[in-house]
């Protein structure tokens, strides 16, 4: 198999927003190869979670979808019934708030083994054995005791590790992680990130890691895609994203974040507020009104995403600004 595991192309999703169909994703294209980790970074309303939902076929009712999502060469939007279930078994999702995604009145063991027993026909005792092993892998001790406990008896960090362990039980090929550490303390976050990274390498899992934190994505993702107003504005090797970004928005996002190593006189804030996809203009760059580098040409049409230095940028001035964006965006 040489093609990408996941390929999203020209993905546009429209939803009912106050009675009218409005785009929440616009022309999203990305690929994830087997075993590769892609970060998906953006602020609220950028479309990062919606992209994950489109991949897992979990879009709200009435969503209009253009473009394609293919997994292992198969068109995901054409799947139905048993094929769709089989597809979903190959994709595991982890969410921000584990408590909202686990039944509070069922034991951890029931939750963890449900998919194995009902979808894959594994016997109860075998499923429990596998669940117990999975808990050990995410660093939870006395796993058999944990399996008998209820979600409220576990801390947030431990419950998120349970979710990761559960997600891995069906031996998925792709992990969709939607802000899985945002609600956790920083030291717990570091631990959960390290576990995710370890297990992903151990099992050769591909991952789409969704976060608002550029540095966090860069820490464990091979490449990072930055989203703004429903579009991908940049995709780049994570290691180069911070020092040598290709899109002014990426640069501005990195500069706006306070630095733990130095106190800035003033932070380089981005004026205005992030636009949701459905508010963004259809015929010009959505970031232009907030961009220190915007010129008339930025308002002349919707920029295409183009290749540059081994990455992709949706900025008409990307060539011109090459190498300049790493410095604070005070232009």
């Amino acid at each position: 198999m040489t093609g990408p595991l996941l390929e999203v192309d020209g993905l546009t999703v429209r939803l009912d927003v106050r009675g009218a169909k409005r785009a929440v994703l616009r022309d999203v294209a990305l690929t994830v190869h087997a075993g590769e980790a892609l970060g998906l970074v953006g602020e609220s309303g950028s479309g990062k979670s919606m992209t994950a939902r489109a991949i897992d076929r979990l879009l709200p009712r009435g969503a209009e979808v253009d473009g394609t999502v293919s997994f292992d060469g198969r068109d995901v939007n054409a799947l139905a019934g048993a094929d769709l279930r089989r597809y979903r078994n190959q994709i595991a999702m982890i969410f921000q708030d584990p408590r909202a995604h686990v039944n509070p009145v069922r034991r951890i063991g029931d939750y963890m083994t449900e998919a194995l027993r009902t979808n894959l026909g594994v016997s109860g005792s075998e499923a429990s054995r596998r669940a117990s092993d999975a808990l050990t892998q995410v660093g939870i001790d006395s796993p058999t005791r944990r399996l008998r406990q209820y979600p409220h008896e576990l801390s947030g960090g431990m419950l998120q590790r349970v979710m990761i362990a559960a997600a891995l039980l069906t031996e998925p090929r792709l992990l969709l992680a939607d802000e899985p550490t945002t609600a956790l303390d920083v030291t717990t976050q570091a631990e959960v990130m390290a576990i995710l990274d370890d297990l992903r390498h151990e099992f050769g899992l591909a991952m789409v890691f969704i976060t608002h934190d550029l540095e966090l994505a860069a820490a464990i993702c091979d490449r990072t895609a930055v989203m703004y107003a429903g579009q991908i504005v940049e995709i780049r090797e994570s290691a180069r994203l911070h020092d040598d970004p290709l899109h002014p928005y990426t640069a501005a996002l990195a500069a706006a974040r306070p630095d733990i190593e130095a106190t800035a006189d003033r932070l380089v804030a981005i004026p205005g507020r992030p636009l949701s996809a459905f508010e963004a203009p259809a015929d010009e760059c959505g970031f232009a009104p907030r961009c220190g580098y915007a010129r008339d040409e930025c308002r002349a049409g919707l920029p295409e995403i183009t290749e540059l230095d081994g990455g992709l940028s949706r900025c008409v001035r990307a060539h011109e600004l090459r190498g300049e964006l790493g410095a604070p965006a005070n232009a």
Partner: protein, 279 residues
Amino acid sequence: MPDQSVTPVLEVTSLRKEFGDLVAVNDVSFRVAEAGSMAIVGESGSGKTTIARMIVGLERPTGGSIAACGRDRSRPARSAADRRRRGREVQIVFQDPYTSLDPRQSAEAAIDEILRLHHGWAADRRRARVAELTELVGLDERQAKALPRALSGGQRQRVAIARALAAEPRILILDESVAALDVSIQAQVLNLLADIRDSTGVSFILISHDLAVVRQLAEEVVVLYRGQVVERGPTPRVLDDPQEEYTKRLRASVPRPGWKPARRARAGPEATAQKESGT
């Protein structure tokens, strides 16, 4: 370091809070200088929010004392006038701008209410002050007249800040006040807060888990772990050269360029927690 000979605007001494068998805050002392800015840093369960709530008067300390502007406030206020006076000493801005404002009240009305309550000014003077405060926090005229539901998270947080400032407090407690904001908006609000401190001389107590935000806004920092102070000092010193194991670990857990998350020994959290409490 603040000059210890000057009377601090806030002095917390041997503060203790128990909830049943749990000691949430244990023997915490610190002082905040006039126009100073101090951060209380810690993770969930460290007691940082409980300390903030005791300073504001939302929780009653089990032991120890809190004095703001030289007056004790560790006992409940004896009268409405006393309570209002305390309101002019300390105000708080909470984390979630979606639940901290009255959904039926415009920004202007919310600020005006505080001016009426605390200063008893005539309508003209209040109107002028409302305009000054909305301007100070960067709300335009339309936003000032809007109900919270028509405002974004960042705009709502500006309303909450303006409302807190309306009482003209000497101390403003920022309880994770920028944690829920998008990065680009967070930078705007952090700049705004720095400006406000410069122009009004209000003191900040920043309750936060975010060390980068702490570095940006606070000169002094107190690191809490399980209700106790483990380390304190000028923010740059504590962050650049942490002395205690817990502070070191906290510092090492912050994602930054080139950061690789390290997995600790494969032990349960109970085992590691015991190790930490020994430090």
